[in-house]
């Protein structure tokens, strides 16, 4: 464990510029996370173009603290309005809102905030201890290891995302497909460009991302405009948890944090799934399962501890292997490559300061989040009432600037609009968007690794089953694909 590097990075964060970034990032993250319709992914995608003009260290501090803030801010709206500010807080609405309605909003928010904080801390401990050893192991990973790992991740995302496996696959594979026009990742030659030179560079991550996540959300919000949610009054009573509370909820908090961390590590799936699994687990082992869904303290804690834990968890594969652990991590990879930093196993050697900056930010932003949230939760709750007919057009303007600024072509802006419509349509058909973006990011990597592997072995594909890691990843992927089908079939047979 490298305490010297950690303290070095912490020291650097407490200099004026990085600390300013940390403060702005966490605060903006909380606010945007709290406003339904604006998500963390949207905020980070729109901030990305601004970061090219920053020092890489400051850029990383800003983005990671936004990530921490956005995941946490969602609980405010989830608790007070039964509208998850971010998708990761869906589970919190089940118990937070009933508790808030029954006259204890401060208590509900306090439990959520503290659970978020503890979840973040525990996951951070894992991030700090595991990442470097894992990155050393990962240098031994060759193309076949990476290829099978990515394929496993893709199947995993498709199988656990909301909706059916088939729809998850459609989304993920469609994302892979639209990443393919442009430069062939294995030979550097343009392909599938329909003889149109603007497509030589392919579709860029940023416009696709802003389109699928921000623009589609704007369209959806316009459709729902006018529905005003019920509101619970906020007061500060009970925001701070007592020592007795900690003792009572310790087991649940720690268990949910570890579940969240582990799910965060699994490539491609993020906070939403983490909180669902931890919530279900807490309900299964609880002495009072009947309270879940009616204002259970355990439910709030499980959901919030787990969704914050996924943040640090998801940074582990990002740093150690260059594989995004969640949608937001996919954007972080984009941010690093903009600064000519190639995420991957040797990141500790080539850009140690950046890695330690990320790790230290994950810790300090978490602490700052706790301070900001406990002190200002009442005021943030009022921001929710900004009229959306004013907010959404302005956000649309930022979408246009954000997608134009990267490459200075209007082409990218059109791409953004197009993917806004596509994303909206996919969501209307209940096809989840998460796999789409992960597929878009991972496909070039998967194809390049597969074909580099074939170049190395002169066309021999057998390492996929003769080497231990690829074999294991392949088997897991096949099980994940087959399992839902088998269990579905068995259920039907039993029913018949």
């Amino acid at each position: 464990m490298d305490f010297a590097s950690l303290f070095g990075a912490i020291g650097q964060i407490f200099t004026p510029w990085p600390f300013f970034m940390l403060f702005i990032g966490t605060a903006l993250g909380i606010v945007v996370g709290a406003i339904p319709g604006l998500t963390g992914a949207m905020l980070i995608a729109l901030t990305l173009p601004l970061t090219f003009y920053m020092e890489p260290f400051n850029a990383v501090v800003l983005l990671v603290s936004m990530y921490v803030g956005a995941i946490s801010g969602g609980l405010i709206t989830a608790t007070l309005m039964r509208m998850p500010g971010t998708p990761a807080s869906v589970m919190t609405t089940f118990d937070g809102y009933p508790m808030a309605r029954s006259g204890r909003p401060g208590r509900a928010l306090g439990l959520g905030i503290t659970a978020s904080f503890v979840g973040g801390l525990i996951a951070w401990g894992v991030l700090f201890t595991v990442t470097k050893p894992l990155s050393i192991l990962a240098t031994k990973f060759g193309p076949f290891e990476y290829f099978t790992l990515i394929m496993m991740a893709m199947v995993l995302i498709a199988s656990v995302s909301e909706g059916s496996l088939v729809k998850g696959l459609i989304s993920g594979l469609l994302g892979m497909l639209v990443s393919m026009p442009g430069v062939d990742p294995a030979t550097g030659m343009p392909r599938l460009t329909f003889d149109w030179y603007m497509l030589n560079g392919g579709l860029q991550l940023l416009p696709v991302l802003i389109g699928t996540f921000a623009v589609s959300q704007i369209i959806k919000d316009c459709l729902d405009m006018g529905k005003l949610p019920d509101r619970a009054e906020v007061n500060n009573r009970g925001v701070l948890m007592s020592l007795r509370d900690f003792r009572r909820h310790a087991v649940n908090m720690i268990r949910s944090s570890f579940i969240g961390t582990w799910i965060g590590i699994l490539p491609g799936i993020g906070a939403s799934i983490g909180s669902v699994v931890a919530y279900t687990m807490a309900k299964n082992v609880s002495d009072h399962p009947e309270e879940f869904g009616r204002g259970s303290e355990e439910g709030i804690i499980a959901s919030e501890a787990a969704n914050n834990a996924t943040v640090s968890g998801a940074l582990i594969p990002l740093i150690a292997m260059g594989i995004p652990g969640s949608v937001i991590d996919a954007i972080l990879i984009g941010a690093l490559t903009i600064h000519s930093i190639q995420p991957g196993p040797t990141l500790f050697l080539t850009n140690g300061d950046i890695v330690w900056g990320m790790i230290a930010t994950a810790l300090i932003a978490n602490i700052l989040m706790w301070i900001l949230m406990t002190s200002s939760v009442r005021y943030i709750a009022n921001l929710i009432y900004l009229p959306r007919s004013f907010v959404l057009p302005v956000v649309m303007m930022f979408c246009v600037i954000g997608s134009y600024a990267l490459n200075n072509t209007m082409f990218d802006v059109w791409v953004m609009l197009m993917f806004g419509v596509i994303g909206f349509l996919l969501e209307r058909a209940k096809i989840p968007l998460g796999p789409f973006v992960i597929g878009f990011v991972l496909a070039p990597l998967a194809e390049q690794k597969l074909r580099s592997g074939l170049m190395m072995t002169a066309g021999d594909i057998s390492p996929i089953w003769t080497r231990p890691f690829p074999l294991a990843f392949t088997i897991i992927a096949i099980l994940l694909l087959v399992w839902p089908i088998v269990s579905d079939w068995r259920r039907k047979r039993r029913a018949a």
Partner: protein
């Protein structure tokens, strides 16, 4: 922010002083056909700031990054109005692309303006490979053709350099594998996924030396030679290819081009601004940090450099499209 204010002030002063000159009457665009942040982009921004500082140009230079494939930005300049207000900064990729057929246009479709900041490469192997010189590497590639795995970004600089290297010993043959740029190749070579690659001089320093200049004991790779005409300052013990007995030079410069039929006045004016920029302290510090050599070419010398580079690259680029 302070820097920006400074630039604005400099621009104001400059416009006040030289209002009589015909060109330039408005800001000049320098198109970087890559995303912001890469080496070409940094080079462009240092030249921009240097030209501003030196006061050689009465109007500011605006940098426009056009990302995606470099053909998009290059084509935009090629098709731009040849009025002297649009320039392109690019490197050897332009010739590589023409040679491999990735581009349907080439360097002769532009008006050359200037060339600056040169870096060269070093063939790399693992320390435990038992290979100590370029000669041994090529002998091995000849004895066991198509088995030594050479990590490259196919069709790009490191692939062309690898091909040129194997041509030094007829019959030698590497097995080229798509790995990517410098960092990716460093990772692959460190993990023994590949057997050889090339890295730029600055990357070798970065990846194999500690900040104080002594050898990093954790580094598992080593350079064999340097492809420049002279030894690299950052690695004074590393022999050049010529010293090792091979007539091979492979260096990469940043070139500035203008659209065909741009007025000579604008070409000369911009070249002079670039030259003035290379004389500033800012530029000198930049190239020292990056391990670039301090070269500046324009006019006839530039034309010759382009032609000789093309003569060397064209046949190699043709090879790059086949295995």
């Amino acid at each position: 922010m302070r820097k920006l204010l400074g630039l604005a002030a400099a621009a104001l002063l400059a416009t006040g002083g030289a209002a009589l000159a015909e060109w330039p009457e408005k800001p000049v665009k320098l198109i970087v056909p890559f995303q912001a942040g890469g080496t070409s982009d940094q080079m462009a921004r240092v030249l921009q700031a240097g030209a501003q500082e030196s006061g050689a140009l009465s109007q500011p230079i605006t940098i426009v990054n056009v990302g995606g494939h470099y053909s998009i930005g290059s084509r935009r300049v090629m098709e731009a109005e040849p009025d002297g207000y649009t320039f392109l900064i690019i490197h050897i990729a332009l010739m590589g692309g023409e040679g491999t057929g990735a581009l349907d246009f080439g360097w002769r479709d532009f008006e050359p303006v200037a060339g600056a900041g040169e870096f060269c490469l070093a063939p790399m192997v693992r320390k435990d490979s038992g290979i100590d010189s370029v000669e041994q590497l090529l002998a091995k590639a000849k004895d066991e053709p198509d088995t030594l795995i050479f990590g490259a970004n196919l069709g790009a600089i490191n692939h062309l350099a690898g091909l040129m290297l194997q041509e030094q010993n007829p019959g030698a043959k590497f097995r080229f594998v798509q790995i990517g740029g410098g960092t990716a190749n460093f990772t692959a070579l460190t993990g023994a996924q590949t057997n050889a690659t090339v890295l730029s001089g600055a990357e070798v320093v970065n990846f194999t030396l500690l900040p104080d200049g002594s050898e990093n004991p954790e580094a598992q790779i080593k350079p064999l030679a340097y492809t420049g005409a002279e030894r690299f300052d950052g690695l004074p013990d590393l022999p050049t290819m010529a010293e090792e007995g091979y007539d091979m030079q492979f260096c990469v410069k940043s070139w500035v081009f203008a659209p065909k039929d741009t007025p000579q006045e604008a070409i000369d004016g911009f070249a002079a601004a670039m030259e003035a920029a290379t004389e500033t302290d800012r530029y000198q510090k930049f190239i020292t940090d990056k391990g670039f050599a301090d070269v500046f070419l324009k006019g006839e010398a530039l034309q010759q450099d382009l032609e000789s580079t093309w003569t060397a690259i064209e046949p190699i680029a043709k090879l790059a499209t086949q295995k």
